[in-house]
Symmetry: C2
Subunit: 353 residues, 2 copies
């Protein structure tokens, strides 16, 4: 069992990582403010893990609710369902909301915890690789709005994140690879040594070897925790976590959300961002090779150059303006800048010449 | 022009109090993060003051929206209307939400500001006495749920509270008196000298003499600001601000919300709480006389004793338990305790003998 501490002053919390933690090997009740709690899961994850989680909550007054599975249900309407459930249970200020599932469950359950009685305790039990290495650190919660993803939400830090690596056994391969995109991103932006470790250990990760998984999750959480601790409200350095995301969001937006998984779009976006950075071609090749080894796309889908600029927020009126991109000085060393070569950007997006 | 500073570290902000501030005498744009802002008001207040407020926002990109007037519209549905408006305007992280109106407008506009993009800037321009002395300090925002008032919300501090005392000229007398209930409360719980000043100056306040109004609003905001600064998240001392509120909520709940105004219910509740405290009868009489002079009820409506206990959360199962009340040691000196005389409580609520 490994523990990563996210240092945020009085909002600090531990991320506990290990095997079989949901099989009664971890006493969750110690982290509740009272014996009352509500487990929020979804219709896919609940049948797999809810009963096992309940085994870690002996003697508590536990309620549970399963929301439909999928990003399209990350809405204010679903949020209201959770708030209604808390109110119907007459949950008090000392209740705890426990999220069991992936990023959607964590984001919406966390937001419900943030706004019920202006904030109750929250525990995350992420069951996808992406949510384990990404949304378990940072405190971002929220729902989508038809005009934009995550447009409505709150910063609300959990009391605890509990990661049972055994839950990854049931994760579909495509979603597992999408999670690896963020893992690779952490190496690429902050830690060349970790990047090299990932190059050596990708086969073990794909085979879901527990020791390799635990190491990758731990190191990724540490990297993200370090960045977030410096900049909890995302006013500066935290932006480097968006490496590949400007291009990635444009891909998701152009294809329609859900066509490519977020991690897939970010993978192709990281290759574009690395090329835009003007780093050594051998380093771009290492990034491309590692992403490909993880089962991820390394080239964007065909998108019209005008559509690229539009979805990146550079419409015609502001084509002369410059976007801020996360760029690399080298693998393991990212920075945020608008000082890139516009001709190279045009060429990358097929608008060359 | 007077300024009260609410000291909350990096979340500190000024409350500016004066006459004719909405007539272009105060440059609001200095407090905006960018030139973009959305004014939220209601259908009663907007026709009276919106144009005047806009005069303080020269050169800004201002949108405005008026919600229906009344507590019954303080709902998630109305919140969604405001969030839709922000999203439709493509408001960014640097936008500012400005609330122009009473407590309902402030609570819901503040909550929209708290959760749009996980928090944008917020300015309050309260136009009722109650919102000027109560919701302008404390950072509580939110909406009602059918199972409870203010059940959904966030703590979100404003950048500025701008109080133009001239707006009280159009406030209906009954609502003005309801605001005075909270003013009197501030004296009763924290400041005997201020209480005595209110006794001497109630006629001036009722005549809406500007100097008297400005002093009362300033002193009430100072008292609340001191209490809140000690306990921003309401874990301890802040509870003394609930003097009269346990009984008051029971009155509102028993009669149905809206039958008595909140301030009216709190007024009768303060008299009951003072009696329960066992302070000198002459002090109870002073409190009663001051509330009566302010045009407020000093006796509760007829409520069955069983209903009293039920609405205070003391149902039969827990009748042996004790509630925590805000009690007085003397006028100007409140404390929170469950150490009261149960027989006296029973007698007060008509369950005597």
């Amino acid at each position: 069992m490994k523990t990563v501490t996210v240092n945020l002053g009085e909002r600090s919390y531990p991320i506990v990582i290990g095997r079989a933690l949901l099989d009664g090997n971890f006493d969750l009740s110690r982290y509740l403010r009272s014996s009352d709690c509500l487990v929020v899961s979804n219709e896919t994850v609940a049948p797999l893990y809810l009963d096992r989680l309940l085994g870690n909550l002996d003697g508590c007054r536990v309620g549970s609710i399963a929301i439909p599975d999928g990003e399209s249900f990350k809405t204010i309407a679903t949020l209201q369902t959770l708030l209604d459930e808390l109110a119907s249970r007459r949950a008090g200020r000392d209740t705890t909301v426990i999220a069991l599932g992936g990023g959607v469950v964590g984001d919406i359950a966390g937001f419900a915890a943030a706004c019920y009685m202006r904030g109750v305790a929250f525990i995350q039990v992420p069951t996808t690789l992406l949510s384990q290495v990404d949304s378990s650190v940072g405190g971002k919660t929220g729902v989508n709005h038809e005009k934009g993803k995550n447009l409505i939400g709150a910063f609300h830090q959990p009391e605890l994140v509990l990661i049972d690596t055994d839950t990854l056994k049931t994760l579909p391969p495509r979603e597992f690879s999408a999670g690896l995109a963020e893992v690779i991103k952490h190496g690429a932006i902050c830690d060349a040594e970790y990047f090299a470790w990932l190059e050596s250990n990708m086969p073990s990760l794909l085979a879901k070897e527990p020791a390799a998984l635990a190491h990758a999750i731990q190191r990724s959480c540490e990297i993200k925790a370090d960045v977030v601790a410096e900049d909890e409200r995302e006013s500066g350095r935290r932006a480097i976590l968006n490496f590949g995301h400007t291009f990635g969001h444009a891909i998701e937006n152009s294809l329609g959300y859900g066509e490519w998984l977020h991690g897939e779009a970010v993978a192709a976006g990281m290759v574009l961002a690395a090329r835009l950075s003007g780093i050594d071609a051998s380093e771009v090749s290492r990034l491309t090779a590692l992403l490909a080894a993880a089962g991820l796309p390394t080239e964007p889908p065909p998108i019209d150059s005008e559509r690229w600029f539009e979805t990146m927020g550079m419409d015609k009126k502001v084509q002369h303006s410059r976007l801020r991109f996360v760029l690399l000085r080298a693998l393991g060393d990212a920075y945020v800048s608008s000082d890139y070569d516009p001709a190279r950007l045009q060429a990358l997006l097929g608008a060359g010449g």
